[in-house]
Symmetry: C2
Subunit: 365 residues, 2 copies
């Protein structure tokens, strides 16, 4: 992997802290497994606003394009909350998704056995849950035009957004979901509000067409988003792959993550298309948790999601399956050994901070 370049974007809040623990893992890889790859660093989010006045500098986008994969921390915090809409830290991640064409966000919601008791749901309801949410990330209401806040002719303020999907945008993310389902338990639950939204009608139709033409052997189920939220809460084991648009995917993937009880443990990947000439596929990896400003700088954040995001990156972007599996196994062993950060603390376990957790993972390696 010596020819590979990794762009690291720590961002805000706990981002830099948890990214620090990934550095330890990388050090270990260089020492013990004599692998190395080029590491670049970049600015994003509030950190970029403070340094250069914009949440996603052109230089960061250029570095991301040049890199083989991006490891992202998290962005945002109260410090930047009152900035105008077109300068908010979230634009860091939104612009990267859009400019690199990262259209498929893969969010696993996995209950690791030692953590089944950490969930707010009953252990027997969540034990064994293994859901993959596939969320569309460059379309829909997040980017649709026209949008704005303006004065209507009668003087009233009016805020509006456009929810819009083209058929090919739906089809390509549906393929990602069906491909994943084939390697998993062969079931896709596609989520929309086709009963009230026109974009939802098209979503359901196109997913059905792709299914029939290309994946007839995968089980496809259509479900309204409100019902899906209910079902996730009451019977999460019924799901394998959940497919949703940018907005429903956002809410439902967070819900799926929350029900595992281990938000601080969950990585994610956002993938673009494979470039037909270079064979390269842009990809960004980030933990599911946000910047958690309330605990930032206190050394108590759980670094596992960031470390597992790095493992996902090794597997998917660098083809380093063996190293990825080693890291994942090390994290599980640390948990089985009883160490817990505050977010996943359970009675009888040993509560530790960010760096002790990171060190323990390296020790297990």
């Amino acid at each position: 992997a010596a020819n590979k370049t990794l762009l690291v974007l720590p961002g805000d809040g706990i981002g830099p802290e948890v990214m620090g623990e990934v550095s330890r893992v990388i050090d270990w890889m260089e020492r013990r497994r004599s692998v190395s790859f080029r590491i670049e660093e970049g600015l994003v989010g509030g950190a970029a606003i403070d340094a250069v006045g914009t949440p996603c500098p052109d230089e960061t986008v250029a570095k991301a394009r040049a890199a083989d994969a991006v490891l992202f921390g998290s962005v945002g915090g109260p410090k930047w909350d009152s900035l105008p809409f077109d300068q908010r830290p979230e634009l860091g991640i939104l612009r990267l998704r859009k400019d690199l064409g990262l259209f498929a966000n893969l969010r696993p919601a996995l209950v690791m056995d030692p953590l089944a008791e950490a969930s707010s749901l009953k252990a027997d309801v969540v034990r064994g849950v293994d859901i993959m949410v596939v969320r569309e990330t460059v379309g829909g209401v997040y980017f649709g035009e026209p949008r704005g806040v303006e004065k209507a002719p009668d003087g009233r303020r009016r805020g509006f957004d456009t929810q819009v999907y083209f058929e090919d945008e739906i089809a390509r993310v549906a393929r990602v979901a069906f491909d994943l389902a084939r390697k998993r338990r062969n079931k896709v639950t596609s989520v929309e509000k086709a009963n009230v939204m026109q974009s939802g009608r098209l979503w359901r139709a196109v997913v059905g067409e792709v299914h029939q033409a290309e994946y007839p052997e995968v089980q496809l189920e259509n479900m309204y988003a409100d019902n899906c939220a209910m079902q996730l809460c009451s019977r999460p084991k019924q799901f394998d792959v959940i497919l949703g648009d940018n907005l429903f995917g956002d809410v439902l993937s967070d819900l799926a993550a929350a029900l595992t009880g281990s938000l601080g443990m969950l990585p994610s990947a956002t993938l673009g298309a494979v470039d037909p000439t270079s064979g390269k596929r842009y990809a960004l990896y980030e933990p599911i948790h946000g910047s958690a400003p309330d605990i930032a700088g206190r050394g108590v954040a759980n670094p596992c999601a960031q470390i597992l995001s790095f493992a996902m990156l090794l597997r998917w972007s660098f083809g380093m399956e063996e190293d990825a599996a080693l890291i994942e196994a090390a994290v599980e062993k640390v948990l089985a050994g009883g160490l817990r950060t505050a977010d996943i603390m359970q009675p009888g376990m040993a509560r530790v901070g960010t760096s002790v957790m990171g060190e323990a993972v390296v020790r297990e390696l």
Copy 2:
């Protein structure tokens, strides 16, 4: 209340069955409490499509306008799933909300003590949960124009909807939420995606203005919808009143309901503005559960949500607080006595069907 008119719209699926149990309660009221009011019946949803070819006949709307309150069952089912978008059964409820200006949907998510164990969440996480979701119901992406599925100039299909809110639409539903909070635990959590949606920015701004100008003593918290879904799942007791737009309110109220573990128990009210001249306020009451086509006609549906919707109607539209409280107490007693329909069945309890449950409520009365 003899001068009051009640419009009953059973609709589809389990709607007619559970409405039948309300009739028993009404019979009891007439016999024992010598109250009476005029009862009209009407067609809505698939039942209306089958009878007169449209999901919300003008006659139904006219009856609803003439009535003092509407008791609604539920609409929809596989039989009507392949109908064109502008003929689907859901238009029954959507048109009633819109034409009567029923802009505030109140959805309590209450954990009754005997049912705390029925939740998929741990009993100590849900015991005592008492959330009121206030959902805007005549605006947003449900009705915004333009909307449609069309061929773009390049031949691709394009599905689009408009998410739009005017400031006064936000302010009036916010007032409903703040008024309720004052009578409850004095806290409103307003939910949007102000970090990615322009309508969300306006939503947050207007709610903040109403708060500062009219309800400064109520605690207001702004929360992103994805985070709210997480928090509902992990720490539901933090919430008192949740305020959301039509779409977020739909998903989050269903989630809040699901986490109580007793969907078949939950009523809801949808209120319009008070008419300044007549003093009349249009209002529609309906259970939170849908038409449940899978169990329809089998006599196993839980009639409690429909009965409690009727109690809510008596209290809010007919000013019959005492009768409402009697009915609610009767339902609680039946549960405490150990009767359970299938949806809330627990070990050691007696499983009964729709009519035994309804009879038991009348007996307790």
